[in-house]
């Protein structure tokens, strides 16, 4: 349904060019939850914004993002405006700052309806009540006159979701929707997303760094590192048999009672995500990778199918390794 090919985003700033997203391709199928996972700065949010060009004007976007035959990457501002909110809708990370503090919820939700539908204000208001009801906000009608600061973070995020689904979008992009929220609230928001997917058939692109969230709701997973996709597959398969050392590392960094017993501390991936000014012909993870060889710094590994799902690595983990050795970063646990 949504087909992204070779999406590349670079920013020209005062310190030169930064390549944030490098030839990223993926498909989003109707009604599925596709999760994009990675550390901060790996380009996942930029990818999401680039879909409908919500990026600042100094961002350079190439490649294509085709939704129902329309290439959004090449579309006119007018077309994009009709797509935003109607076909592709967004829920952002910060529910505190993503709602306008000076307008009532009623106004902000009805505005989302009126942006794409030719209906009267009272009809739009009625729709707003239904939407708030849909995302589980109690006393929806009375909440129309309430301002964002009078709500809790979880409630605000529900409002954001209500606004996003106002026009029954084909794709809902949720950019770290639960990161700023308490764990209990988080579960409620995920329930809402899951429920909407089932009820409205909306495809959800869930951007997160929280693997717990991924395991909970995703159907398929795309793992990104330094602007590139390093591994991609069905969620159970990928969690059970991670091939890429980076994915392996991410899984090892999840707080886990078993791992703590073994090494006494959380396993981390040493180093930081590099900021790239170009698209090197090498594996961008090589510097931090325990399995890196000369080949990794000389040639970029292609995204290839390795027994079950796709991975971009010259030295992927085998099934045997996954079955026996457990965690890859154990090399650092004795240090």
């Amino acid at each position: 349904m949504l087909s992204v090919r070779d999406l590349t985003v670079s920013f020209t700033g005062e310190e030169g060019v930064v390549c944030a997203v490098d030839r990223v391709s993926f498909d989003v199928r109707a009604g599925e939850v596709l999760s994009v996972v990675g550390e901060s700065g790996c380009g996942k949010s930029v990818t999401a914004m680039a879909l409908t060009r919500l990026l600042p004007p100094y961002a350079r976007v190439t490649g294509s993002a085709v939704l129902d035959g329309v290439d959004l990457a090449a579309a006119s501002p007018r077309t994009l405006r009709h797509v935003r909110g109607k076909d592709v809708a967004y829920v952002f990370q910060e529910p505190m700052s993503s709602l306008n503090p000076v307008f009532t919820l009623g106004r902000q939700v009805t505005e989302a309806v009126l942006a794409h539908e030719q209906v009267s204000r009272s009809t739009a208001e009625q729709r707003a009540v239904e939407l708030l009801d849909l995302v589980g906000i109690p006393g929806a009608r009375d909440r129309l006159r309430v301002y964002p600061h009078q709500l809790s973070g979880g409630m605000r995020q529900r409002v954001m979701i209500a606004m996003a689904v106002a026009c029954n979008p084909r794709v809902l992009v949720a950019d770290e929707p639960t990161t700023a929220l308490d764990v209990t609230v988080q579960a409620g928001i995920l329930d809402v997303l899951r429920d909407l997917r089932t009820r409205l058939g909306t495809a959800v692109v869930l951007i997160t760094h929280d693997l717990g969230v991924v395991a909970d709701v995703a159907d398929r997973v795309v793992v990104m590192y330094a602007g590139r996709i390093v591994e991609r597959g069905e969620v159970r398969e990928l969690f059970r048999r991670p091939r890429h050392p980076y994915t392996k590392g991410l899984l090892g960094a999840v707080p886990n009672a078993e791992a703590r017993e073994r090494s006494g501390r959380l396993l981390e991936i040493p180093g930081l995500v590099p900021v790239l000014s170009e698209q090197p012909d090498a594996c961008t993870f090589a510097d931090r990778c325990p399995r890196a060889s000369a080949r990794c710094t000389e040639h970029e590994p292609p995204l290839e199918n390795v027994a079950g799902h796709e991975v971009a690595c010259w030295h992927p983990h085998t099934d045997d390794e996954n079955a026996t050795a457990g965690r890859p970063a154990e090399r650092s646990s004795d240090a």
Partner: protein, 318 residues
Amino acid sequence: MAAYLLRRAGQSLLTLVLATIVVFAGVRALPGDPALALAGEERDAATLAAIRAKYGLDDSVIEQYWAYVTNTFQGDLGRSIRTGIPVRDMIVGALPVTLELSLLALVIASILGLLTGMLAAVRRGGPSEWLANGIALLGLSIPHFWLGLMAILWLSVGLGLFPASGHVPLLSDPVANLHHMVMPAVILGTGLAAVIMRQTRSSMLEALGEDYVRTARAKGLRERQVVGVHALRNSLIVVVTIVGLQLGNLISGAVVTEQIFGLPGFGKLTIDSVFQRDYPVIQAVVLITATAYIVINFAIDLLYSVIDPRIRVAGGAD
């Protein structure tokens, strides 16, 4: 909200009372005995005593103050020493001219400042921003009086577009009135327009980077709505503050502008009364100016709570 309003009204009232005390004490502090001044040539003790008794000058300071306050609040501001005309009539004649001038200047400055400020923020880095910034800098740096004189020289004397001075009451002939008022109002408004433009530009730039603006775009709103509604409404909070602080300058600016254009307004009345040492008039003028400041501040506070709902609740009952 009601509690907040009540508290603000109380504060304003207190300030007003303090203003009357300062004005009252100020006149008392002036050298010379008013009875002597009033008596003129006949300075015998009996006459002086009669004058003191008549004007209550023998009463205690507290009683005198009370008499002054009650008279003032009943609208009795005394008579001009020079002309004998009731001060109230002089002020009633002059105030509308200044109010019209200031209001017109404020409207012109707001429209001009907001539009250019928004344009400069949206077209950041482009020639429009350069132009707007340049004009704002000029507007801030050039003094009113010089600009006023140049306008008279060029637009009135040279091109004959506007009358150089004089005034026609609004009610007798609105068109002629505006014809006389436009040039002074624009001159008076330039400084304020520049301040509003710069403030709008910077707070608009800040607002445009906010998450809720991204949300508005992601909803598929028109850019006009994103900028003109979502970003503007938030930037207005800061702009209103600055405008509020600047309104004082507008009052003092009106004094100079009225003098240049020969407008029979409050500013001219102030200057004339000071030059002629017309104490009752000075007293009234100072008190009314102080009241104007207080009222403006109160109005600005009210406006905040209209623009920003967070203020409404923070000070309110809920």
